[in-house]
């Protein structure tokens, strides 16, 4: 059997490649949810938004032959779903966690319902940028194939972190999330801030879905997301409500997910189920190691999950 020239080094390289390929939807969903949660609202329904985004992007790309329009439409669909969630949660006595779960079911179901005609056809995909042109090793070149959405996701994470810290608008979002009374006293319309923050969060998740169906794995089917949106929402807590940490968490999660196929491809084949669970074990272990009862909720918006 011909050994790969990289030998065991192919595993970390594959994990880097996996991080770049797989993490984008996690980045978009978690950064979007980060904004939403900083305004004091939880949207657990982003899994459904992700799937709706994937379906509508694929449908539009198929119909118009223009995948970037698909991305735009996915963002629009996500925006609407986010606004719907915000609108319902704004009613008195309505619980946002439960509504999120309900909307997740609704959006997933609707995507499957409307998406039946798109399972078979092949839609044009978003292209890749070759960042590995300098290398002669094909693995490196393959690993460094990235999509513009990945770049956009990274930029958004940093931009959001900066905006939350340094702009008037960021201050208003944080105020709405930290303390309703103070916000009201300042004349901030908490409802409107949350509506906007939740809608934008939804739009981000929609784009994440478009990445799934139009770039990687790059086709529409019903098993496409299988919980990635839900996991991304959980990563926000893991990242303690910081957009840049959301980015790192997503990359780490993507890299860990590439471990199982990478190990199998160099011949380490036993216990692949256990290796597939690596991202979850790693996340849990990191949380256990870094949390403590005193500072676990440091960074948590004060109004988050407040029972109404």
């Amino acid at each position: 059997m011909a050994e790969s020239p990289l030998g065991i080094w192919s595993v970390p390289l594959a994990m880097l490649a996996g991080a770049i390929r797989v993490s984008t939807p996690f980045i978009f969903v978690s950064v979007g949810e980060c904004l939403t949660e900083r305004s004091g609202r939880i949207n657990l329904g982003l899994e459904g938004t992700l799937v709706m985004g994937a379906m509508s992007a694929y449908g539009v790309a198929l119909g118009t032959e223009w995948p970037w329009l698909g991305v735009l439409v996915a963002a629009g669909v996500g925006l609407l779903l986010g606004a719907l969630h915000a609108g319902i949660c704004q009613l008195p006595r309505v619980n946002d966690i439960a509504t999120g779960i309900g909307l997740m079911l609704f959006a997933t179901g609707l995507a499957f319902f409307l998406g039946k005609p798109f399972i078979q056809p092949k839609a044009p995909n978003l292209g890749a940028i070759e960042l590995g042109w300098w290398s002669s090793i094909p693995q490196v070149r393959q690993a460094l194939q990235v999509n513009w959405l990945f770049v956009l996701g990274i930029a958004l994470a940093f931009a959001l972190a900066w905006a939350l810290r340094n702009t008037r608008w960021g201050l208003i979002v944080r105020l709405a999330g930290e303390n309703i009374d103070a916000a009201l006293a300042m004349g901030v319309s908490v409802g409107r801030v949350r509506l906007i923050a939740t809608s934008i969060g939804g739009a981000f998740a929609g784009i994440g879905g478009a990445f799934l169906s139009l770039y990687y794995p790059g086709s529409w089917n019903e098993g496409l997301s299988s919980g990635q949106g839900l996991m991304a929402v959980a990563l926000v807590i893991f990242a303690r409500w910081d957009p840049v940490r959301c980015l790192w968490a997503s990359l780490l999660f993507g890299a860990a997910g590439a471990l199982s196929p990478a190990l199998q491809s160099i011949g380490v084949t036993q216990g692949y189920y256990l290796f597939s669970a690596a991202p979850y074990v790693l996340t849990l272990a990191l949380m256990v190691a870094t949390c403590s009862p005193e500072r676990s909720l440091r960074g948590a918006p004060g109004e988050l999950g407040a029972v109404k």
């Binding site: 459904g48 319902i88 009613l91 008195p92 006595r93 309505v94 619980n95 966690i97 439960a98 509504t99 779960i101 309900g102 909307l103 997740m104 079911l105 609704f106 959006a107 997933t108 179901g109 609707l110 995507a111 499957f112 319902f113 409307l114 039946k116 919980g227 839900l230 996991m231 959980a234 807590i237 893991f238 216990g271 189920y273 256990l274 597939s276 669970a277 979850y280 074990v281 996340t283 849990l284 949380m287 256990v288 949390c291 403590s292 009862p293 005193e294 500072r295 676990s296 909720l297 999950g305 029972v307």
Partner: protein
């Protein structure tokens, strides 16, 4: 009087609104006569004794699974690890059933239930303990534990515990016909339904009439007050999580002992996730869980008929479930506002 009227009228309004929305989707997009669809749904879910049994069978695992969310919710915890506890409960039950082999069936059945509940309980108690002692958010840890549990189950079913005879559906060895838990006399529904109803009743009585229940209510209302009153919050958190996990573990046990006869990947088909939904929709009230689970069971029971007769996609019923849930949750806002308020002194 006013409250009783609202308890009926508000959900009824929500259901009516969802039916209208769904009808619109059917008529406009799928070009299906909505009345025919509703008639078929009624026929498939509640139209005959056969359909009722179909509905109840589908509701059974959801009742037990939803307690995994509903019980800890009394303390203000959001646990979504139902699926993990259910899957591991099923695995433990199968392992126990296979290990006990030819012991008297009743003994084997009891052992299966206990081991399923034990492992399910421990699994969720772990999430509770991590929250209490390490401050790890229980929602995310229970979700992570679910994925880990499913991986463990698959590993054992396809590795150490695999029965080589199971060929193309990797499974543990069968627990044997003698050890299976049969159906409730007089109906074609397995005992999981009865277990679920009894568990809900028990939880209700515990919550309503015991000091424990009261203490949990206090903690759920305000943990700081509870601590000042000298309540051991940590113990209650872990206990509630363990009890919830045990209920889900029992649901897994019933899947193994009454439906599958062995543990395999069919344990992880989403009963746990549906259970979360049921719990939230029932507002974590143990007595509301049963009718909500039956409603959900009925909708999924009717899905097949919609596919066969009207050529609607399987997702049609999921859309309806989603609409109903969102409508019912949104309708919460109507309580106290439906009738013009009387002058109160």
């Amino acid at each position: 009087m006013r409250q009783a009227f609202e308890r009926i009228a508000v959900p009824a309004l929500a259901l009516l609104a969802s039916a209208l929305l769904f009808a619109l989707l059917l008529a406009a997009y799928a070009q299906v006569d909505p009345f025919e669809a509703f008639e078929l749904m009624y026929e498939g879910a509640f139209g005959s004794w056969f359909s009722w049994q179909n509905t109840l069978t589908r509701a059974a695992p959801l009742i037990l699974a939803s307690l995994c969310t509903a019980l800890p919710a009394r303390l203000g915890l959001v646990i979504i690890g139902n699926e993990g506890a259910l899957v591991l409960g099923g695995l433990a039950a199968a392992a126990a059933g296979v290990a006990m082999g030819r012991a008297p069936p009743l003994l084997v059945q009891v052992a299966m239930c206990l081991s399923g509940m034990l492992l399910g309980g421990l699994w969720i108690a772990l999430a509770g303990a991590l929250r209490q002692w390490r401050g790890v958010n229980e929602t995310i840890s229970s979700l992570l534990l679910t994925y880990i549990a499913i991986a463990l189950m698959n590993h054992f079913v396809e590795g150490p515990l695999r029965d080589p005879e199971s060929l193309n559906k990797p499974s543990t060895a069968a627990i044997g016909d003698a050890n299976t838990i049969g159906t409730i006399p007089g109906m074609d529904v397995h005992w999981g339904l009865a277990f679920g109803v009894v568990a809900c009743l028990l939880v209700y009585l515990l919550q309503r009439f015991t000091t424990w229940g009261f203490a949990m209510q206090v903690i759920g209302g305000n943990p700081k007050t509870a601590r000042m009153m000298g309540l051991d919050v940590g113990r209650y958190v872990i206990l509630a999580c363990a009890a919830g996990g045990a209920a889900a573990g029992l649901a897994g046990t019933v899947e193994v002992a009454a439906v599958l006869g062995r543990a395999n990947a069919s344990l992880a088909v989403g009963y746990g996730y549906a259970g979360i939904l049921v719990a939230f929709l029932a507002r974590h009230h143990p007595l509301a869980i049963v009718p909500v689970a039956i409603l959900l069971g009925g909708i999924s029971a009717s899905g097949g008929l919609l596919q066969r007769r009207l050529d609607l996609p399987d997702a049609a019923v999921v859309v309806l479930q989603g609409i109903i849930f969102v409508a019912i949750l949104a309708s919460e806002t109507l309580y106290g506002r439906l009738l013009p308020r009387k002058q109160e002194s």
